[in-house]
């Protein structure tokens, strides 16, 4: 795998990118949709090298922790602080997102309740089996990469007939917000780097409308520096030839048809719903919820939660604009001052895939 990070390889690819970018008379601005791509681009130093080669990269809404509105985080806080005998299990980043009432880590749980960080949704099922006297709620967040695992977990809970288990879901699908971003007209980009691991599941087809209906070039790619460069080179080829497409530069992991087994499982367990995204507002069919036959495991129904619609940030926080690619993290007045990884004011400074945290960590001083 060292070849994917080899200096000589990257230098050759950058030279190729520079030649192609110069052949285009327009400025080239691309959006990397996925937070893990943002991480590679900054960590490897590609951000600056690409700028020198004539390609500007901007971050997109590809961090599920970041786009989950505070209203849902507050619902999780209400459960943890308001209900006794409960275990709230979730992924680590979710526990540090600041809301008006603090975060899951700073909250004081109700009597005999606690918050547990898990790596896999499977662990939350084990907790429910081992602790029959407690209610276990899995606060599950994720894009298509993670959603099949959550769907499997719901099916497993159903087959084990677990009565003390439910899922508070914050599940998001990627293509609808991309349409919303493009239709807003504010996003001046000529191409998308599509997320590699979302595409492992959904394949190539769900992005085709962006090339066919909106003329936007794009490439699905992996997470090594060479993957990123190969994808940018492919996007530039599409722009030069005037033939926008969805190329796959991560063919070792992504098949054009995706993972059909995972997709049929998602289809069986979950159904689309209109959902609020932080910064992007209400987007039709952009979220997923458990189907009626699994509703016994839907925490929203089980606990009669009334999650308000909304996608607001804390006062002063501009995560919403960062997620839409309208501003770069350092443009936010709070960046590096009132908001830092030690004391985050918004989710983009919390998550390891958050654009603000990545900019902060790898900024040029």
């Amino acid at each position: 795998m060292n070849e994917y990070r080899d200096k000589k390889v990257i230098a050759a690819l950058l030279k190729d990118i520079q030649t192609k970018a110069r052949a285009l008379s327009l400025p080239v601005r691309l959006m990397e949709v996925c937070g893990t791509h943002t991480m590679t681009i900054h960590k490897s130093g590609l951000k600056t090298m690409l700028e020198e080669a004539g390609v500007e990269m901007t971050s997109g809404p590809g961090c599920p922790v970041c786009i989950t509105p505070n209203e849902i985080h507050e619902a999780a806080l209400d459960l943890l602080t308001g209900r006794e005998n409960l275990i709230l299990a979730t992924f680590g980043d979710m526990t540090r997102v600041p809301t008006r009432r603090g975060s899951l880590q700073t909250a004081v749980p109700a009597a005999n309740s606690l918050m547990k960080i898990v790596y896999s949704p499977d662990e939350s099922i084990d907790m429910a089996v081992r602790n029959p006297e407690k209610e276990v709620i899995f606060f599950g967040v994720g894009f298509e990469t993670t959603i099949p695992a959550v769907a499997l977990t719901a099916r497993k809970a159903s087959s084990l007939a677990l009565r003390n288990y439910s899922i508070l879901s914050a599940l998001w699908v990627i293509p609808p917000p991309l349409r919303a971003l493009v239709e807003s007209g504010k996003l001046k980009i000529s191409g998308f780097l599509y997320p590699g691991h979302v595409s492992v599941i959904i394949g190539q087809k769900p992005y085709l409308f962006l090339a066919e209906d909106y003329g936007i070039a794009g490439s699905i790619t992996g997470f090594e520096p060479a993957d990123i460069c190969l994808a940018i080179s492919s996007i530039l080829d599409q722009l030069i030839q005037g033939k926008p497409a969805v190329s796959i530069e991560y063919s070792r992991a992504v098949r054009p048809e995706g993972n059909p087994l995972a997709m049929s499982l998602m289809e069986e367990v979950l159904e689309p719903k209109d959902a609020f995204w932080r910064g992007l507002g209400l987007i039709p069919r952009s979220g997923l919820k458990l189907r009626t036959r699994y509703s016994a495991f839907d925490a929203e129904i089980k606990y009669g939660l009334k999650i308000k619609g909304g996608s607001g940030d804390l006062p002063g926080c501009r995560c919403g604009e960062v997620l839409r690619g309208i501003i770069s993290p350092p443009d936010c007045p709070l960046f590096g001052k009132k908001c830092s990884p030690d004391s985050p004011h918004g989710p983009c400074m919390v998550s390891y895939e958050g654009a603000c945290l990545i900019h902060f960590k790898y900024r040029v001083k």
Binding site: L13, F91, P148, A149, L152, R252, E353
Partner: protein, 75 residues
């Protein structure tokens, strides 16, 4: 969140549970999302689930291309 790690399958039981080797560490893995997977295959592991099998031929092809670039300095 969508971070996935490439790892080698070392053990699978009849319930699609098993272990992968990631840089020498054995990690518990659920293989229910894959139709065909064998010990020795490379997979991408995400949140404890193997989400795809890595295609050796495709990987070799890209690697060959990159090695050529490292040698010649040309794309």
């Amino acid at each position: 969140m969508c971070l996935g790690i490439p790892a080698k399958v070392v053990q699978i039981d009849n319930f699609s549970q098993g272990k992968v080797d990631y840089l020498g560490t054995l990690v518990r893995s659920n293989f229910s999302l894959l139709e065909k997977v064998n010990v020795g295959d490379w997979v991408i592991l995400h949140a404890g689930f193997a989400i795809t099998r890595l295609d050796e031929e495709e990987a070799k092809e890209t690697l060959g291309l990159l090695r050529e670039m490292a040698k010649t300095g040309l794309p």
